[in-house]
Amino acid sequence: MDALGSLQYLATGFGVATTSENLFYCLAGAIVGTLVGVLPGLGPIAGIALLIPATFNLNATSAIIMLAGIYYGAMYGGSTTSILLNVPGETASVMTCIDGYQMAKKGRAGPALAICAIGSFVAGGLAILGLVFLAPPLAEAALAFGPPEFFSLMVFGFVVLSNVTGGSLIKSLMMAVVGLIIGTIGLDPVSGNPRFTFGYVSLLGGIEFVAVAIGLFGIGEVLMNAEQPVEILEQRVLVPRLRDLYPSLRDLKQSVGAILRGTGIGFGVGLVPGPAPVIATYASYMVEKRISDHPETFGHGAIEGVAGPESANNAACQAAFIPLFVLGIPFAPPTAILLGALLIHGVNPGPAMIAEHPQLFWGVVASMYIGNVILLLLNLPFVPLFANILRIPKKVLLPLVMLFCLTGMYSVNNFMLDLWVMLGCGALGYLMRKWAYEGAPLLLALVLGPKLEVAFRQSLMISHGGFGIFVERPVSLVFLVATLGFLLLPLLRYTVRSLGHRAAAV
């Protein structure tokens, strides 16, 4: 498909997307998406699934426009509670907690919220361009990732990202190991035997990531606050001034690079099978911290640490539509549910889909542009409103946060065990905070660990136990060499420097 042809199709797509009916469903999807993103626990997966039955009587295009809107809309909403309350609104907003919440503590909740909306908007717009012009070749390229390639990529990600927030390397690695251990609970992915379930049927499905994330960050923070003296709890914590509600020119200047880099990282990672939005946010944070000329501000309210990851998760979410539409294969759970919705409406996504259903494909793509504009307009005016939540005295706010976490978590799976896991992780999060352990490496390991294990064992099954499979495949080899380089580089630098010193001494 040539570029000019794509533009022509896109123009027809806008014709489809701008009918009053489709505009309405786009708006509805954006609003619902923002809401499920804001509520802790409830994420895009639950939001889309709950609304599928409501689309039974719609035509396929309107239905998909609305459901897709929920997915990317949730990426906008997810940052809100991360910034205000240190509670990740959905899984891809874990990294936003780190600097976003610090910004809020310093009275800069407004700029943080606004930069999230702006970053998401820019990332969304650019990523859709990628979807329009590059979809088919990129989707084919994604197929090159088999189990060995995936394993090596995961190893690379693990080594590079496990110390993402800085601090003590030993402590980060300890937390990563705890995450790996938690990730082994449930049915063994290869033999199907139960592992570490101690006879409890409820543990067969493993430990829910969202429960751990909300527990470690949200509940841990509530407990930490609860130990403060009563006078502090009764104070109104922060009263932001009106002119501090939106980002300053300096904020914007600092964020531009982060937003663009976040978009690139998110788009690339979004094409690879796996929990793309989560990994993309970690990677973006890592990059921003590395190249920053003031890395010491990260973890204490650096705006780049919010702008980068929030752009990355939105770009990853748009990129995830490429394998869905072009291959008919969902790489992530939310797109798996969208696939179900497409099937229900008689659209079988796959190599022939763009040709068979041009109205639907281009209509949905065009609606994503409109949806992103709607979301920006929807989110920016809410910034003062949300920022004012912090005016509520803590003695009222903290129990409310607790309540939201509990109801939000229960509504995801209607499953009591999730609540106990969340509360247990809350206690753990409190202790970790006391002794300066980071939650981020634990969560990363919990996401990557099971995938890493499956890819490793699949590869060895394919090769009948031969480890050569990881170095014989070029893509896999590249990632392994990169990992080795990353580990050896500091050592090499140290050796060269000490040799230099010795030479100078002689």
Binding site: I45, A46, I48, A49, I52, P53, F56, L143, A144, F145, G146, P147, G186, L187, D188, P189, V190, S191, G192, N193, P194, G199, V201, S202, L203, L204, G205, P273, P323, L327, G328, I329, P330, F331, P333, A336, I337, L339, G340, L343, I344, H345, G346, V347, N348, P349, G350, P351, A352, N413, N414, F415, L417, D418, K451, V454, Q458, M461, I462, H464
Partner: protein, 317 residues
């Protein structure tokens, strides 16, 4: 049969005329279907659509509730403990006859009374269109000469299509190298990318790619040919005496009064025949296959035994 019917009748009468009086008013409130998996899967989509089409025949709303967790065990345990009054149903699908062999569950298929079977999905092997094997006999011949060489992906260790692949391997007298993936989607991706030779799956997995000419069905395990691809012969037609598939139906907690089960069965049967539902099923490439409670019970019992044997064999390895 008559004596069984007589006992059932007597028991119903003994249970109290009050109960019978209540049953006459069934349903007095909405009926809920527990789905032991997260929303968005094939079972979830089929039964949400069926619930929408059945409400008008039942006179009360049919509500779908997802109780995910424990690979399905959580939802089944809860459904088993629900009051057997017909207001709580559960989707009875193939894993109900697999799970009890894998872990110590509190339930088996016998903890439930069958209501109706709705779907029978044919299981199949797909290969890439450019695979070296053009026919089933070429495929099996190669497998015989090179045991443990052909890699066959499946949607999860110990899951339905994995066990079906193991059973087929025995019936055909060959040995494959089975590679588990986290779901049907990832296994199809690996096949498209050429990382495995074949994939054991059931529709709609891979069907879009078969239509687009990227994948081929090399072995079809259903009793009859698959409606969507009438040119593809079953393996039984080609001399391998084997047929297996996965079913999706509804069951009620054990002890639900037979007349209530009948009311529910009749309503869901009408729901299955609803043109809107039939079209949705066609669009999703879901193979509708009605079975009454007795027949459905027999299918569950047969598969329960079959999977018990298969899983014992895996555990021995």
């Amino acid at each position: 049969m008559r004596s069984v019917a007589g006992i059932v009748l007597a028991l119903t009468l003994c249970a109290g005329l009050a109960g019978a009086g209540l049953a006459a008013e069934f349903p007095a409130k909405e009926v809920q279907i527990i789905i032991p998996w997260a929303p968005g899967g094939a079972t979830d989509l089929v039964f949400r659509a069926l619930a929408a089409g059945t409400s008008k025949h039942l006179g009360k709303a049919v509500v779908v509730v997802n109780k995910a967790g424990g690979g399905g065990a959580v939802g089944y345990t809860e459904a088993m403990q629900a009051r057997p009054d017909g207001y709580t149903l559960v989707t009875a699908v193939t894993p109900l006859t697999i799970l009890p062999h894998q872990a110590t569950t509190t339930f088996t298929y016998q903890s439930f009374d069958p209501v109706i079977n709705v779907v029978q999905d044919p299981a199949m092997f797909q290969v890439r269109a450019d695979a070296q094997w053009k026919t089933l006999s070429e495929f099996l011949e190669y497998a015989k000469k090179n045991p443990d060489t052909i890699t066959v992906g499946n949607s999860g260790a110990g899951g339905g299509v994995h066990l079906i692949a193991l059973a087929f391997e025995k019936a055909a007298g060959v040995k494959f190298n089975h590679i588990p993936f986290a779901g049907g989607g990832p296994s199809i991706t690996a096949l498209l990318g050429g990382h495995v030779h074949a994939v054991s799956c059931s529709p709609p997995e891979g069907i879009a790619h078969v239509r687009a000419g990227k994948l081929r069905i090399i072995a079809l395990f259903s009793e009859k040919r698959f409606e969507a691809f009438p040119a593809v012969p079953t393996v039984r037609e080609q001399g391998v005496n084997f047929a297996m598939g996965q079913w999706r139906g509804l069951a009620a907690p054990k002890g639900t009064p037979p007349d209530i089960v009948k009311t529910l069965h009749d309503a869901f049967k009408k729901g299955m025949e609803d043109p809107g539902f039939v079209k949705t099923a066609q669009d999703m490439t879901v193979n509708l296959a009605y079975l009454d409670p007795v027949e459905f019970g027999k299918v569950m019992a047969a598969d329960h035994d079959r999977y018990a044997k298969l899983i014992q064999e895996i555990k021995k390895q």
